[in-house]
């Protein structure tokens, strides 16, 4: 599917909920072009030369920050990293004041990771700079949703008739929300699977299927995306223990055998081996976990490029 007459005209990427299907396709097409850049010896294009990007991370993250940083460097942007510990937010400055200071430094793009849902929208409504959401609370993590969709498209070509399972702590997961919106818009069937406390029935109103048992749905899935379970950060009333979680929802070797042979195994990382996924299963040929990481750079290059005013998704 392509829409040659349409043009990307967003400055921000705040959520996949607000994008139309063609916009998501547009980013994925651009990402396909940028993917080849990373495979060259000279992994750099001049698209964002002279632009300044600030990675503003008010919540710990390594891989997303590194991925954005590499994406920006490959587009020739100047990159500054700012983390919560280094920033003045700990001295009582408000988010808006810190962000206005970044803008006063002539930042063109601010990539924001924040523990509060809506923090990116909040800045986008008040700043001139492009705001790219790198994860806001339990709201969205749009580039993760895009890179997951990109990985699925690389393998299946289209989303038609695909049954995609997302397993884990859906309630508190921004990855699950971004995946849900993107995959539904692209035409897939989305199955959310996990304990009833973490996967409320209400998700059906957003267009998903909700399951509280993993085994019956396993053989039907074309993709299984396992989310990280962090019992230590969770309020303890949602499930009793990681052991019980693994027994009920972990992708064990035995369960993996029930999957279709061509079912993709995905995980946004970092993985807890032996908890939500068995170690050997994570290393198996069906696993595309490291491909996801590679695709993350291409997708983020596409997003940075388009939100900076790039028009055609052509590799240079």
């Amino acid at each position: 599917m392509s829409f040659p007459t349409r043009e990307w005209n967003r400055r921000h990427l705040l959520s996949l909920d607000e994008l139309e299907a063609w916009e998501i396709e547009f980013i994925l097409n651009a990402a396909a072009a940028f993917k080849t850049v990373g495979e060259r010896d000279l992994k750099k294009v001049p698209s964002l030369r002279g632009r300044t990007l600030i990675n503003f991370f008010i919540e710990p993250s390594t891989r997303t920050r590194v991925s954005f940083e590499l994406a920006a460097l490959r587009l020739s942007a100047d990159v500054i990293n700012m983390s919560a510990t280094a920033s003045s937010l700990q001295k009582g400055e408000t988010l808006i004041d810190t962000a206005k200071n970044l803008q006063a430094l002539h930042a063109d793009i601010i990539v924001l990771r924040h523990s509060a849902a809506g923090a990116c929208k909040f800045l986008a409504d008040r700043l001139e700079a492009s705001i790219i959401n790198a994860g806001d609370g339990a709201h969205e993590h749009p580039t993760q949703g895009l890179l997951d969709a990109f990985t699925i498209r690389e393998h299946f070509g289209s989303f038609k008739n695909l049954k995609i399972g997302i397993v884990g702590d859906i309630l508190f997961s921004r990855v699950a929300r971004s995946n849900l919106h993107a995959l539904l818009k692209l035409g897939a069937e989305v199955h959310l699977i996990g304990p009833s406390t973490l996967v409320p029935k209400l998700f059906e109103q957003l267009g998903a299927y909700v399951h509280h048992h993993l085994d019956p749905i396993l053989p039907h899935l074309d993709v299984i995306n396992l989310l990280r379970i962090q019992h230590e950060r969770q309020r303890k009333e949602y499930f009793p223990s990681t052991g019980e979680y693994t027994a009920l929802f972990g992708l064990t070797k035995e369960r993996a055998r029930a999957l279709k042979p061509n079912c993709l195994i995905m995980h946004p990382g970092p993985i807890n081996r032996g908890v939500e996924i068995d170690s050997d299963v994570a290393n198996s040929s069906q696993s595309v976990i490291l491909e996801q990481v590679t695709h993350g750079i291409a997708v983020r290059m596409a997003v940075l490029y388009l939100c900076s005013g790039g028009k055609t998704p052509a590799a240079q």
Partner: protein, 452 residues
């Protein structure tokens, strides 16, 4: 629909005529040809009303005193002065949000002649000294009558009873831990029993902290979509149910503040059917907006209890029509812009409401839904709250204080927060088009505000 720009208003900006602090009584006033609505006396008729020396006389005498002023109220409703029993004036402690002076200006401009100030100030109103300080301040700064609610528990901590009897002697008219909620049922039981000794009204903000947890908005499809923590209906309903059971156990009345959920309405209805003395109030924002308003993470719409869903609004409307909810209030909760302009998780709960509540209820209940008529609406702001707080107000009975609100029932206007008297502008009603508005507010026979 006509345009919603503020310049479409047929009136110039509001003005307050300051309350004269002189000891001289107000001159006699004859209000002619108004539609007199006095629900306390089941009165609704076009008539003249005469007031003198700050009290209601009633029909004008055959020979008017020479200094009598007359006011033509043709086309206007002449109602008893409106009472708002749920207002945060923020003094002491947060005069950057609101003061008694600014808050009572806003009250006057909304048509209110009396307000009940909530005790969750800093320090809280939980001692006779705090009550005395407030009374002093009110005497100096207030342009309408300000009544004081004392805390149920010391420091609003929900643990030890505040000196309720001493605060009553100092001048409180009710107790509540508003903004907080007594979680310990035993403490609440003893508070009800203790207050019943003085027949002191007990008001409760209903919120179970375990169930509301870190919730910032209604738990539903929108909180799920936005990834914001939900504040479920059940957190309110559990405490409403608790209060009903305690009221029955202690044979005391209890008043439920700012009801927001359909489930609370059902519990209240069952309690009324069993003849328990439970009263309840509702705020205009809970009828005007749904949780969908949070979709852009706008903290203006963050309020406690949260904006809920369409079916909650329908239940609240039904409760008003059938008389399960009999009191209207604003929960006027001012916050400075810089406090609200933060991530929604960190923004304080609350919205202002004194200047829009009458218009919002009139527009919605009378003009849009045709749910109730003017006498019913006025009763919810006069005789009903006056009875709850045992005030000799909210009526036009001869001898009562001459507190009056003149209302233009079909006046179309658009609210502009920049013309608000409140020090804070955190209103969700900015730009809303209303039908009906207070145009003159009279306290003790003296006009304290008039729409010019």
């Amino acid at each position: 629909m006509s345009q919603i720009h503020s310049n479409s208003s047929p009136f110039s900006p509001l003005q307050v005529l300051p309350l004269a602090v002189s000891s001289k009584p107000a001159p006699p006033l004859l209000i002619r040809n108004g539609r007199i609505i006095d629900p306390a006396n089941q009165r609704d008729e076009i008539a003249d009303l005469f007031i003198q020396s700050g009290v209601i006389i009633g029909d004008p005498p055959a020979k008017l005193p020479t200094e009598t002023q007359t006011l033509d109220a043709s086309g206007l409703i002449v109602a008893p002065g409106l009472i708002d029993i749920h207002v945060h004036l923020r003094e002491p402690g947060a005069p950057h949000k609101e003061t008694i002076e600014s808050g009572t200006f806003a009250a006057a401009a909304g048509g209110f002649t009396s307000v009940l100030a909530m005790p969750n100030t800093s320090p809280p109103c939980d001692s006779p000294a705090a009550v005395m300080w407030l009374l002093q301040r009110i005497l100096q700064k207030s342009s309408v009558r300000v009544f004081i609610a004392g805390a149920i528990t010391k420091s609003l901590a929900g643990e030890e009873l505040a000196p309720i009897g001493s605060m009553l002697k100092a001048g409180i008219v009710a107790i509540t831990d508003d903004g907080h909620c007594v979680q310990n049922h035993e403490v609440m039981r003893r508070a009800l029993e203790y207050a019943s000794m003085f027949q002191l009204p007990v008001l409760d903000h209903c919120q179970d902290y375990n169930l509301s947890a870190d919730g910032v908005m209604h738990e539903g499809q929108w909180s799920l979509r936005l990834g914001l923590q939900g504040w479920p209906r059940i957190a309110e309903e559990v405490i409403v149910a608790r209060n009903i059971l305690l009221a029955e156990l202690c044979s005391t009345p209890i008043h439920i503040q700012h009801v927001s959920s359909a489930g609370s309405v059902r519990l209240l209805r069952e309690a009324s059917a069993r003849k328990l003395k439970i009263t309840a109030e509702v705020c205009p924002h809970h009828l005007w907006f749904t949780d969908e308003k949070l979709q852009n993470f706008d903290s203006t719409f963050k309020v406690n209890p949260p904006l809920r869903e369409r079916h909650d609004i329908e239940a609240l409307l039904e409760a008003i029509v059938e008389g399960t909810i009999t009191i209207f209030a604003s929960d006027h909760a001012p916050h400075a812009n810089y406090e609200k302009e933060v991530e929604i998780d960190h923004a304080p709960f609350g919205m202002t409401g004194l200047e829009t509540e009458l218009a919002a209820f009139a527009t919605l209940l009378i003009h849009r839904e045709r749910a109730i008529d003017w006498p019913r609406l006025i009763a919810c702001y006069t005789v009903n709250p006056a009875r709850l707080l045992k005030l000799n107000l909210g009526t036009l009975t001869a001898g009562a204080p001459a507190d009056l609100t003149l209302i233009s029932p079909n006046l179309r206007w658009t609210f502009d927060r920049n013309q608000s008297f409140s020090l804070s502008k955190n209103t969700p009603f900015h730009g809303c088009e209303f039908v009906g508005r207070a145009v003159q507010t009279i306290v003790a026979g003296r006009t304290i505000w008039k729409l010019l």
